[in-house]
Symmetry: none
Subunit: 471 residues, 2 copies
Amino acid sequence: MPKVSDKWPRPRPSQSSLQRRALHHPGRIWVLLILGSLTLNLVMIALLASLYEGGGTPGCKAERSILVAEKKKSVVAAPQQQSTAEELVSAEEISVSSTSGKRPASKDAIINLDHGDPTMFESFWKEMGEPGDITIPGWQAMSYFSDVTNLCWFLEPEFADEVRRLHKLVGNAVADNHFIIVGTGSTQLFQAALYALSPPDAPEPMSVVSAVPYYSSYPAVTDYLQSGLYRWAGDASMFDGDAYIELVCSPNNPDGSIREAILKSRYGKTIHDLAYYWPQYTPITDAADHDIMLFTVSKSTGHAGTRLGWALVKDKDVAKRMIKFIELNTIGVSKDSQLRAAKILKAVSDGYELPVSQTNHRLFDFGRQLLSIRWQKLQAAVKASDIFSLPDFPLALCKFTGENTGTYPAFAWLKCEKEEVEDCEGFFRKHNIITRSGRHFGVEPKYVRISMLDRDETFHLFIERVLMLHH
Amino acid sequence: MPKVSDKWPRPRPSQSSLQRRALHHPGRIWVLLILGSLTLNLVMIALLASLYEGGGTPGCKAERSILVAEKKKSVVAAPQQQSTAEELVSAEEISVSSTSGKRPASKDAIINLDHGDPTMFESFWKEMGEPGDITIPGWQAMSYFSDVTNLCWFLEPEFADEVRRLHKLVGNAVADNHFIIVGTGSTQLFQAALYALSPPDAPEPMSVVSAVPYYSSYPAVTDYLQSGLYRWAGDASMFDGDAYIELVCSPNNPDGSIREAILKSRYGKTIHDLAYYWPQYTPITDAADHDIMLFTVSKSTGHAGTRLGWALVKDKDVAKRMIKFIELNTIGVSKDSQLRAAKILKAVSDGYELPVSQTNHRLFDFGRQLLSIRWQKLQAAVKASDIFSLPDFPLALCKFTGENTGTYPAFAWLKCEKEEVEDCEGFFRKHNIITRSGRHFGVEPKYVRISMLDRDETFHLFIERVLMLHH
């Protein structure tokens, strides 16, 4: 890779925010310099002291009146569901088995496509080489703090810069009028958002809903601590009430559909989970501009092991409460992960923006091409089998590529059309293919979710096996 | 040898003596201020400007610290007291201010010793050089899974190996008959342990207790989600009941004392927080062998920004539930942090075990020497002041060093003996020193906790200032 990176006008975090501000306001500093006298100095010192003794504008005082749950609340009573919390949790558990994340050992081995483990992207990053590598010296990033001038004091400035740059490049979300909050994966940010949107002193926990089929982790992650702040309340389309948090996953996990909030109430809140709103999966039709939007490197670049997500949040008080959650939950977020993710996102943007960048450095092209081939193979195999069906997706103009493109979701949402097969997951398991049943997503077990993001050898073995499943 | 750089007393002679004289006699503060240069003036102005402007986060940084500092006074959380969780949580919040983690900008700047930010160790790792560095290729550690043959499927084997090796070297804990569980800091593992030890179907939340003075985060972290599984119940010595989880922090944060569980019931459980049970802080008298033991790189090696802790857990079912918590909370733990921590722990063990290892690669020697000097300085300053007192610690045989050694806690637990000073934190704040009040730890505000782990320049400024505080 030619050394052009130095010429590229990437905004770099300045060493000191004080310096930055001083440079942004030369006029003010000049006036202050003229007026700078001992008196002023003393006034400043006195003011500063008073700030530390209890000033502050009321707008920033996010009161957190958290009441101890005096009695165990019946957290489970989702209006539409009769199952107990324990059943819910055990049904929705992340199931890790000895085949998870592994290459199949032989032709007949178990193929595990239960998780969306994005190992398909490994080959891209091997090809990328050095620009994707990072070295962290032993003495670096030791402090708890990243940038105390930022509301999100544990956010590494380099990472924030690369997040804004990437959204600008891809055009999938408006980052500029939003606070960036970094999280230990979007899972932690999802919980931070629930915490932020639930009034601490409400008589009842806030209802958390999502339209079926919804991401299988939502119910378990909402209910595992039996929080008095919020509780899972099932399918959004069945919800009857004014106060709620609606989870809108778009493109949707598991079925890849583009979604909007279906509930409308002035008391309702929405969280937009946009983990899959990237050009390898779906046409980028507009820059999303919602109140809370969640993203993760797991699905954008394939770095699931880095456990790093980010939220774009419009409202300052909501942002503050989300930050408070992350302070209490994990006292911030791994700086090593943030530094690495900054490097990874930089390599992705450089791949498109550097004048001489190589085509094999273009992540979204790589992802889209590979997924479109995989989807063709799967559709052909499904057609040949005559016992399954898949959703259809229309073409749409992608503003990122400038072309009419198809939709290639990270998961196949497959339905068993065989009348005698009620349990599609069980059917696949008989053929040593592990999938995730529709019942985890709030629908019938005739559906299964299948990862499309595994390594080539696993995917090919899967297609071979589907081709053998004749009617 | 990384210089155990105790630069005190060697400030620039002219300035220092003038300053000291000036500050011994409050009237001369004015003289000092007159001598305050334009640079100082600018620093104050810039600092103030940053506090008020705040870029995207207007005005919030200062307020957050203030919020916490000036809140509720009565926080002592004996279960019998009717203090609400609101009081508890606001008082126990982690307070981040514009000075957190920063070097003081001038002699008179605010010194922030509120957090135990372990930046004192930076100079050791700078001296260590390459053996402490890590390079992570772009394609590595992309999967969610680390080792699915391990109960803790997200635990990197290299990290687990280095944890066992280090405990064997130091002799501070028995790791061999325990499961290792990695967490996003010991804070996450603490919550995982609460989750694991609380029956999901009990009629009442489990009571969580700890003897005063207890670590200030315990109440807030226990109660912020208003869990139906567990709730904070205050001082262990005031607890009356059979079912509880007792938190035993040893050496104790904030006061450095060696502790054992004080409650005894066959239905009670204990969590041992051994974050500070390392040879730089305290003599290693025995290999701890408790049911659940928590450790963190933040305090052992100084890598707080890495957000990595580990638990040693005897019971398999408890381990499984802790792992389940981490799955639901963050789907595992950053592999980048784990790989880096493995390298760091390896460098620490190599420093003692490699035949040709250099003495400047011996972390615990470095830490103990520096802390013992710092404690001498502090004890001298406290004695000179005649208005404070510190706990006394006996010498003990350290099995790691083979010598009788003293105790040099990571925090000074300081009491204001001045009768008219009820609020020791406020007293220090008037002298631009930020500490954490005893009330956050469940005791009277005559006590404050002060970090001993900051960078040299911060610590020296602190000692200078204490020396000026005469009776």
